[in-house]
Symmetry: C2
Subunit: 219 residues, 2 copies
DNA sequence: GATGTAAAGTGAGTATAATCAGTTTTGACT
DNA sequence: AGTCAAAACTGATTATACTCACTTTACATC
């Protein structure tokens, strides 16, 4: 009703701004987005190169070519930066995994394969994975919470779809949540408590088998 | 073979030290232990009164009547202090819970009751529980690792005993680990992700029921 | 008791995550 | 163009976990 701007409505418009249009994004908004991207890129490079603890917020600000104060306008804390860095990448990874589900005979084998692929992703950068694991446990800000939720939703949806496709399972949602809880705990044992990855995954296989096939195992 | 000290072997012994004996504790050792206890007590009181974040290491050192430097001779970090504070108390709680297991008809109901009692313990101090949850995920020092391990062993042993007592379960160790993983995840959802406790525990009940009674539920 | 030495203790100092009072930029309206 | 308010930005400053060069204490040996 008031934001309407037909096609000949450049009344007070600057000459060089024609293609941008008045409505939608707006220059401010786009600048902010670009700056956010620059910050995240700078943080990712530094975290990867020299680790989280040895990277100072000063370095990130310098690399992103902004003042230290500005950094905290975009991220509530250094830890938040870590989450920002990995959110997109992890979401993409998870979606790619579920987009091409493994073709194996049994449901528990398929689930294990999916979790193994997720673990592969973490194996590339165990130190960062550890940090993430720790930081994501207790989301401090609402922003972080929603980031985590989005990731979890993607995982639950993927798992539930896989499980629901196997007709013998009565309650796919519950089983999906249980399966993920078991995987999460395996990840914790591996990256957190320092257990051998193979050992953790073998245990997970047994657990998933029990979860899917029931108490009596496969005799 | 070489530590032998009969009963008349006080060759170079000081007069006033007779009852203490040369071997065993030693005054230095006992002093250190007492100081450690004082530090832990001071830290616990302050954490409880004003929370972890709002307690400075300076305050703890003052309350324990030692220098700031000395504090870090006893704890590697402020986070380590938190673990020191809760290790003893949590171990005691867990042991008390398993020493008096609930007398309920079904195994999954008994497990749920045990987990509920653990959750009660955390409910008394959710903020501290959150912190613990976070700090215990990735133990940094070996000392902390062994503290966590001791606690976990107590829990696994208790759960495995409960489960093994129910004859229908084929593999108690695996089921115990699975049950704890499900509980841990419920705790995370409740204290970490901010879900309602009742909701989390109802979900846990369904998960435990499925874990114990198998896929077909209870029809 | 005197002496040497290793353990324990100390607090001024350091590094750095996060803040905030002040400055600059943006863009709507005349 | 000129004006204004709001948004974005800034880096000097602050708060505090942790360190380290030095001092003090404990105790074995003479």
């Amino acid at each position: 009703m008031e934001r309407e701007s037909g096609d000949g409505a450049q009344i007070g418009m600057m000459p060089g701004e024609a293609d941008t249009g008045l409505a939608a994004p707006g220059r401010r908004e786009r600048n902010k987005l670009a700056k956010r991207a620059r910050i995240v890129a700078a943080a990712r490079d530094l975290f990867r190169r020299q680790g989280f603890a040895d990277t100072t917020t000063q370095q990130i600000a310098d690399a992103a070519d902004i003042g230290t104060g500005t950094l905290f306008l975009y991220a509530r804390s250094k830890e938040d930066l870590l989450v920002m860095v990995f959110r997109d990448e992890m979401l993409e990874t998870v979606r790619a995994i579920f987009a091409d589900p493994p073709r194996l005979a049994s449901l528990d084998a398929r689930l294990l394969a999916v979790f193994n692929r997720m673990a592969d992703y973490h194996a590339d950068d165990p130190d960062l994975a550890r940090l993430l694991l720790k930081e994501l446990v207790v989301p401090r800000s609402e922003a972080r919470r929603s980031d985590v939720d989005e990731l979890m939703d993607a995982i639950y949806d993927g798992l539930t779809a896989m499980i629901a496709a196997a007709p013998q399972v009565r309650n796919p949602a519950i089983v999906a949540r249980s399966a993920f809880a078991l995987y999460y705990f395996a990840l914790l044992s591996w990256l957190g408590a320092g257990q051998d990855r193979g050992w953790c995954m073998r245990l997970l296989r047994e657990q998933l088998s029990h979860l899917i096939n029931g108490n009596g195992a496969d005799d």
